[in-house]
């Protein structure tokens, strides 16, 4: 994909629709994310934020519309799905570390078995990533022995170990005690500065204001408003956006 210019779109979602049974969870959602861009998705509970970012790497299947990730169309073809998953890392609210593997093994598993990297090299890179997220000394421990903030930083390192071009975050700090939120956000800020393309669902308005290039506001399964942080926090247009911001900033 060397031909892609710097500011082309890396994720293009067009008219995406998704139903759970009869329930219309995503309604004609269209969004383009540029390379190196940080997009924060906000919105009330149940508005479809998780559903949307989970369709990007096919943890949820959409029923109509088109999603193209780094030029790869997201179809039923397993090869395409696997190719897209190799390019996108995901960080979950509940961390979802593998409890039976050590921190180091959590990080090296996918590089070794998906990217076929040799164990020694995978471990060396895992240690670098653990340095980067600030917890190299935790490498031999099991996830159950770590604090929530440490676990989430391991989860970020695990996703980064696959050398993804895009990182998806679904409420990465929502399960954390207040004093641990900071340490995770700092890692994410550093990642954004390094030029990683990021799509982040979060309720951390400070992060949205300080780090996001654009903010997307979703409500009842649709995108209501897209804009820069400045636009959002000073001059929101839609009534639903205003209401939401008023409630959350209260």
């Amino acid at each position: 994909m060397a031909g892609h210019a710097e500011n082309t779109d890396i994720i293009v979602a067009t008219q995406v629709n998704k139903w759970y049974g009869d329930f219309h969870a995503l309604k004609n959602v269209s969004l383009a994310v540029k390379r190196r861009e940080v997009v924060v998705i906000i919105g009330p509970s149940g508005s479809g934020k998780s559903t949307f970012i989970r369709t990007i790497n096919r943890l949820e299947e959409h029923q109509s519309g088109e999603i193209v990730v780094d030029g790869i169309p997201l179809t039923h073809d397993v090869r395409n799905i696997e190719a897209i998953r190799m390019e996108t890392g995901m960080v979950f609210q509940q961390f979802n570390l593998f409890p039976h593997l050590t921190v180091l093994q959590n990080i090296t598993l996918a590089p070794m078995h998906v990217r076929k990297i040799k164990k020694a090299e995978a471990e060396a890179r895992a240690m670098q990533l653990l340095e980067r997220v600030g917890i190299p000394e935790q490498a031999p421990k099991f996830p159950g022995q770590l604090s929530g903030g440490q676990q989430q930083r391991v989860a970020i390192a695990r996703a980064l170990a696959m050398q993804p071009k895009i990182m998806l975050f679904d409420e990465p700090t929502s399960a954390l005690d207040p004093e641990m939120i900071r340490e995770v956000l700092e890692v994410m800020e550093e990642l954004a500065e390094s030029g990683m393309t990021m799509v982040v669902v979060t309720h951390e308005m400070g992060f949205a204001r300080g780090v996001a290039d654009r903010i997307v506001f979703m409500d009842s399964g649709e995108i209501v408003e897209i804009g820069t942080p400045e636009h959002f926090f000073t001059d929101p247009q839609h009534d639903r956006t205003k209401l939401f911001l008023k409630q959350i900033l209260k």
């Binding site: 943890l59 998953r85 995901m90 593998f98 039976h100 598993l109 078995h113 998906v114």
Partner: protein, 414 residues
């Protein structure tokens, strides 16, 4: 501050309090007795009642033991060990035993943990058997087995064997056992006459049935458990049908069906499988159905997030099963699986009803030997106590090893 409860506004002026030892409520063994056995009147009554029951049982047992007659077991030790396997060819089972000892030694050295536990148990057993005057040859075999076990441990612990080769060795040992026991044609040693599998018996047969049953029913059971959760209806309904059908039928029925009906299911060229193979087939299929349900329980306990994390990392479905889902699911159900295997081990005694001479069948035969007709009260008690002890020894060994394994695989829980 009279109550010791700080008022609403209060700042602790003290330096951080040092940690103190917990209060000693129990001192010495008398304190322990008082705290645990005689803490309340009800507890005291229970303790005394239990002691009385133990005394009653122990007294009866002691009276019987004083006059117990162990000669039938001693005289028939070869029969208990290998059944009516031809005496002049006993070197063949001996080679199998030595092979297994070597493999256990290497595994204990290479892998440690549970294998070391099992290896220690085996070593103790071999040492005991080498010291009991069973007969020169048998003792020599046990002693060599012990030496092989220790040598294997030494070699394995120094990394003298790759895990891959060890696994291959274990897998190969299965067919090799059958070849060795059934009779072989070696270029140097000459042919040993074939030994019909109906002649294999005793503890050797019990172990063979159990090990083969465990080794084969485990993968089949895991596949059935996965099949039961498959998205493909054909596979799912086949698995459900199989599991429910087998679980609805007693093992003895399957054994009889194996004896009479198995050839109907086999391709015509496969001939007529031996009784041993039929029994093994029935035991394996029976055990697999129960195992599948146990494993399914473990699979259900794995949170959806684990699958999602594996998917999101790009792991293939097979890799996700191998590295993420199954290891966790199986660990969760170790107690159930081992319980199932202990059940299987004891259920092998049912093959005595379809004409195979395993441990219980040998016991029955020994009891009826004419030599003991004159013994007052018969010899059934001694013989069954002995057989029971043998079963208990191995069952308890499995149970003990499983607990060790569970602790080992606790994943550093806090």
């Amino acid at each position: 501050m009279a109550t010791g409860i700080p008022p609403t506004h209060w700042v602790n002026p003290n330096p951080p309090a040092p940690a103190q030892k917990p209060p000693a409520t129990t001192v010495g063994w008398i304190g322990w007795l008082r705290a645990h056995l005689f803490s309340t009147p009800a507890n005291s009554v229970l303790t005394l009642a239990t002691l009385w029951v133990l005394y009653w049982i122990g007294g009866g047992l002691a009276r019987w033991l004083a006059g117990a007659f162990w000669e039938p077991i001693w005289a028939n030790r070869k029969l208990f060990a290998t059944g009516i396997y031809p005496s002049e060819q006993l070197w063949q089972p001996a080679v199998v035993l030595l092979l297994v000892c070597a493999l256990f030694g290497l595994s204990a050295g290479r892998w440690g943990s549970i294998m070391r536990t099992v290896g220690i148990g085996l070593a103790a057993l071999l040492l005991l058997l080498a010291l009991i005057p069973l007969g020169g040859m048998a003792q020599a075999v046990m002693a060599v087995g012990l030496v092989l076990l220790l040598a294997g441990y030494w070699l394995g612990a120094r990394g003298g064997v790759a895990s891959r080769w060890l696994v291959a060795g274990w897998i190969l040992s299965g067919p090799l056992t059958f070849v060795l026991l059934g009779g072989i044609d070696l270029p140097l040693l000459g042919a040993s006459p074939a030994v019909d599998s109906n002649l294999w018996g005793g503890l050797m047969l019990t172990m063979l049935l159990a090990v083969v049953g465990i080794a084969l029913s485990f993968p089949v059971g895991v596949l059935l458990a996965l099949g039961r959760r498959s998205k493909l209806p054909v596979i799912r309904y086949f698995s459900i049908g199989y599991i429910e059908l087998i679980r609805g039928v007693p093992l003895i029925t399957l054994l009889f069906m194996g004896m009479t009906m198995l050839p109907l299911f086999l391709p015509s060229g496969w001939g007529n499988p031996s009784q041993l193979v039929r029994a093994m087939t029935a035991i394996t299929f029976f055990s697999a159905a129960y195992l599948a349900e146990n494993v399914r329980g473990g699979l259900q306990a794995i949170p959806k997030g684990q699958y999602e994390a594996a998917d999101a990392l790009g792991l293939s479905g097979l890799d996700s099963l191998r590295f993420i889902i199954l290891p966790q699911a199986l660990v969760k159900v170790i107690p159930a699986i081992v319980g199932q295997f202990i059940g299987l081990f004891k259920d092998t005694s049912l093959v005595s009803l379809v004409g195979l001479l395993e441990l219980v069948a040998v016991a029955k035969a020994v009891i009826q030997q004419p030599e003991w007709l004159g013994v007052a009260g018969g010899v059934a008690r001694e013989v069954y106590v002995f057989v029971g002890l043998v079963f208990f020894l191995f069952s308890y060994g499995m149970s003990f090893a499983s607990r060790r394994l569970e602790n080992k695989l606790g994943f550093g829980k806090r």
